[in-house]
């Protein structure tokens, strides 16, 4: 039995709409283009902060995108406080945060 074309179109449309909401909206490739201000600290294995206290900067490779967006938003709003991260997050739009998070959410490669 052949399905009417309209059924297939509606089904595909529904599938696309659903998968669109299920996935993060960040663009991994765009995130790679925006991470110049991240790599100086987070891109160097074993890098430590020097101010206001000394500890290893967190590893981001493979972290959940949703959590990273939440963290960046908290730095931007001031709910979470770190001088450098506050300054950097203040310059990021929601789209920038989502793109960066999508990039770092994969632990290796591009």
């Amino acid at each position: 039995m052949k399905r009417p074309a309209i059924v297939s179109v509606v089904a595909w449309g529904l599938l696309l709409a659903l998968s669109g909401t299920a996935q993060a909206t960040g663009d991994r490739a765009a995130g790679k283009q925006k991470n110049a201000m991240c790599i100086g600290c987070h891109g160097i294995e074993g890098y430590r902060t020097s101010y206001p206290s000394v500890y290893h900067v967190p590893r981001l490779g493979g972290q959940h995108a949703e959590y990273m967006v939440k963290a960046l938003e908290a730095y931007k709003s001031g709910a979470r406080n770190h001088p450098s991260m506050k300054g950097i997050a203040a310059t990021l739009s929601t789209q920038d945060m989502e793109d960066l998070a999508a990039y770092y959410a994969t632990s290796g490669g591009k």
Binding site: I39, H42, G43, I44, E45, G46, S53, Y55, H56, V57, P58, R59, L60, G61, G62, Q63, H64, A65, E66, Y67, K70, A71, A79, R80, N81, Y104, T106, S107, G108
Partner: protein, 108 residues
Amino acid sequence: MNKLIVAAASGALLLISSHGMAADIEAGKKKAAEVCAACHGPDGNSPAPAFPKLAGQHADYLAKSLNEYKSGVRKDPIMAGMAAPLSKEDIENLSAYFATQSGLKTKY
């Protein structure tokens, strides 16, 4: 004579440094199973996107985060309640345990 002094000094330094990182990974694993696993996963590879992965994270960053949740410097209604009953040793042990699990990587 000089060599003896160097040897003694090295020995003392080793003792001091090992004393400084006396975290008990097995105790951390046990505590993690009780307190952290429900959200962050038994080895710190959290299955839930809202909760960060801890596996492979730097121990000193994990300890800093827990200490800040405990003191209230970092605010989160869930983590405040989780960190409050943790002792200094619990925090060191949990941080050491998660740091030794396979998960997060430094990404350029």
